[in-house]
C-alpha cells in the first residue's frame, strides 16, 4: 500500500475578509508526481506556504511524511525540498557558496554533493558568479539545486519552469521524470498544463480556494481532448458554494 506523503485535512486560510483556501482535503502518495493546478489567485501558493510551515492555517491540518506541520513544528520539512515562488539567495555570495551555506545544515551533504547538483541543473560554469548577477532562469536552476541538495523524499515545486527557456523547460521535465523514477515524490504547481499532463500521474485543480477536480491524469482526460479542456471545464463549472 502506498504511503501518503502529504495529507491536507479540511485546510482553511483566511486573510482578513478573503478566504484564500477552504475545505481543502488532499492526499499525495509516495513516489508519484502530483500536479497542483489552478488559475492565478486560486490559492495554490497559499496552500504550498502552509505545507512548508510558512503560513499558519486558519483551520485544518497539514501532515507531511506522517508528522503534522505548523510554523511551530517543522521537523518533517527536513526531508522536503522546495522551490516555491522566486527563490531567495544571498546576492553577495556565489551560486556555489550559497549551496555550500545550505549544505552546512546537513552533516551528510558535502562539497561533492554540491557539485553534483550544480551539474544536474547545468550551473557548473556559472557557479562562481555572484547570485545577484544571475538571470531569472539561472536563479530558478539554483533554486532547484538547493531543493535537491539534501536528497529530499518530497519535492515541492511552484512554477519551476518560470523564467526558463524552451530548452530549460524540456530539461526540467526530463529531470522531474528521472526524480520520480528514483522514487522521489513530486508536488508540482504549474500553469503549463501541457507540462503537467506530460509529467504528472495525478492532478488536483483548485479554483477560488476550493478543490474543483482531482484524480489520475488518465481518468480526467477520458472523453477530453487534453488537460487544458479538463482545466477550463473545472474552473468554469458553477461554484457549488456560491450564492
Amino acid at each position: 500500500m502506498r504511503q501518503p506523503v502529504i495529507q491536507l485535512h479540511n485546510l482553511h486560510k483566511r486573510f482578513g475578509a478573503v478566504q484564500a483556501v477552504r475545505h481543502l482535503n488532499l492526499e499525495v502518495f509516495s513516489g508519484e508526481c502530483f500536479g497542483f493546478l489552478g488559475p492565478n489567485g486560486a490559492g495554490k501558493t497559499t496552500t504550498i506556504s502552509m505545507i512548508l510551515g510558512l503560513l499558519r492555517p486558519t483551520a485544518g491540518r497539514v501532515v507531511v511524511l506522517g508528522e503534522e506541520v505548523t510554523p511551530d513544528h517543522t521537523a518533517a520539512l527536513r526531508h522536503v525540498g522546495a522551490l516555491a515562488g522566486a527563490p531567495g539567495f544571498y546576492p553577495y555570495l556565489s551560486g556555489r557558496a550559497n549551496l555550500r551555506l545550505l549544505a552546512a545544515l546537513y552533516p551528510d551533504v558535502d562539497d561533492v554533493r554540491v557539485e553534483e547538483v550544480l551539474a544536474l541543473v547545468g550551473l557548473q560554469e556559472a557557479a562562481n558568479r555572484k547570485a545577484k548577477a544571475y538571470s531569472t532562469g539561472m536563479k530558478q536552476r539554483l533554486g532547484l539545486a538547493a531543493a535537491l541538495l539534501h536528497r529530499p523524499k518530497l519535492l515541492i515545486l511552484d512554477e519551476p519552469t518560470s523564467g526558463l527557456d524552451p530548452v530549460g523547460m524540456a530539461e526540467m521535465r526530463a529531470l522531474l521524470r528521472k526524480l520520480t523514477e528514483e522514487g522521489i515524490t513530486v508536488f508540482l504547481s504549474s500553469h503549463l498544463l501541457h507540462e503537467v499532463e506530460q509529467t504528472c500521474d495525478r492532478v488536483a485543480i483548485l479554483n477560488r480556494g476550493q478543490l474543483v477536480a482531482q484524480g489520475p491524469v488518465a481518468d480526467l482526460l477520458a472523453g477530453k481532448h487534453d488537460l487544458e479542456e479538463v482545466f477550463m471545464a473545472a474552473v468554469h463549472a458553477p461554484n457549488p458554494t456560491a450564492a
Binding site: 510558512l54 531567495g88 546576492p91
Partner: protein, 294 residues
C-alpha cells in the same frame, strides 16, 4: 520522530553569512577610522602649548589616558553603545535581520524545517559575534594609536604594566553596552521586515530620544533625571565608567549639577542584558506569529 537542526550548525551558518558580508567589514573599517581620527585629534590638541585653556591637571590626566598602559583601553570608550558603537550596531543589525526578508532567504531556512526559535537565536548569536568584532576593533585600533603616541612621547612602551586582563574584560563590557541597541533593532526589523524602518527607528531612538529629548527633559525636571538613569545610554556610561582608563572621560562628560547620577556597573550590566533580552523576546513573539508567504 524527526530531529531538528542543531543550534551550533545554525550559528556556524550565521557566522559564515556574517563574515561574507561587505557591510561588516565596511563598519569595522569605518569604526577603526573614526577611533584613529578622534585619538589623533585629541593628540593634536594636547600638542599645543596651552590646549584649549584646560587646567594643567586635566591636560596631564588626558595625556595619561592617551598613553600606555591606560591608553590601551581608550578606544573602547568611543565604541560603547551610547556613542558611536550604538549607531554602527543599529545599521548592522537592521541589515542582517531585515534583508533576510527582502532577499527571501528567511523562506529558504524555514521551509527546510529550521525552527523559528532556533533561527532567531542563531541570528542573535551571530549579531553578538559581530559586536565582539566591533569592540575588539576599537580596542586594537585605540591600542595601536596610543601605543605609537606613547613610544613617540615617552620613548618606551611599559609592557610590564599593561592591563591585558582589563582589556579583555573591557571588550566584554563594551559588547554589553551595545546589546540593547541590537535587541531593539532586531525587534523592529522583524516587526517591520524593512531595513530602512529598522535603521530609522534605531537611530531615531538613539539620537533623538536618548540624546536630545532626554537631555532637554533632564534640564526641566529632576524626576526625569532619575528615570533617565535607566536608559541604555546612561547604563552604558555606568559600565564604561568601570573601565579604568575611561573613568576620566565619563566624569568629564557627566559634569554638571543636572546630570543624572549613574547606577552601579553591576546593576547597569544586568539591566543592559535585560533590555537586549526584551528586544529578543519581542522579535521572537512577532516572528512566531508571522505569516511568510512563499
Amino acid at each position: 520522530m524527526m530531529t531538528s537542526f542543531s543550534l551550533l550548525s545554525l550559528l556556524r551558518i550565521e557566522t559564515r553569512k556574517l563574515t561574507g558580508r561587505a557591510l561588516l567589514w565596511v563598519e569595522v573599517g569605518l569604526l577603526a577610522l573614526f577611533i584613529a581620527a578622534l585619538h589623533l585629534a585629541l593628540m593634536a590638541v594636547l600638542s599645543q602649548p596651552n590646549p584649549q585653556g584646560m587646567p594643567p591637571e586635566a591636560v596631564n590626566a588626558l595625556q595619561a589616558s592617551l598613553r600606555w598602559p591606560e591608553g590601551l583601553l581608550s578606544g573602547l570608550t568611543f565604541a560603547n553603545g551610547g556613542e558611536l558603537g550604538g549607531l554602527f550596531v543599529v545599521v548592522l543589525v537592521a541589515a542582517l535581520a531585515a534583508q533576510e526578508y527582502t532577499w527571501r532567504t528567511v523562506h529558504l531556512w524555514l521551509s527546510r524545517g529550521v525552527e523559528r526559535g532556533a533561527y532567531l537565536l542563531a541570528k542573535f548569536g551571530g549579531i553578538v559575534l559581530a559586536l565582539f568584532l566591533l569592540a575588539l576593533t576599537a580596542l586594537v585600533v585605540g591600542g595601536v594609536v596610543t601605543g605609537i603616541y606613547t613610544w613617540k612621547t615617552v620613548g618606551a612602551l611599559p609592557w610590564h604594566a599593561m592591563p591585558w586582563a582589563e582589556a579583555g574584560l573591557g571588550v566584554f563590557k563594551i559588547v554589553l553596552t551595545m546589546l540593547p541597541y541590537a535587541g531593539l533593532t532586531l525587534a523592529v526589523a522583524v516587526l517591520s521586515r524593512s531595513t530602512m524602518v529598522a535603521i530609522g527607528v534605531g537611530l531615531g531612538y538613539s539620537l533623538l530620544v536618548e540624546n536630545l529629548a532626554v537631555e532637554v527633559l533632564v534640564l526641566l525636571s529632576p524626576g526625569v533625571a532619575r528615570v533617565a538613569r535607566y536608559l541604555p545610554t546612561m547604563l552604558a556610561k555606568s559600565v564604561v565608567g568601570s573601565i579604568s582608563a575611561t573613568e576620566m572621560a565619563v566624569s568629564v562628560g557627566m559634569q554638571g549639577g543636572d546630570a543624572p547620577s549613574l547606577l552601579s556597573p553591576g546593576l547597569a550590566s544586568v539591566l543592559l542584558v535585560g533590555y537586549a533580552l526584551m528586544g529578543l523576546a519581542v522579535a521572537w513573539w512577532a516572528f512566531r506569529r508571522q505569516d511568510i508567504s512563499a
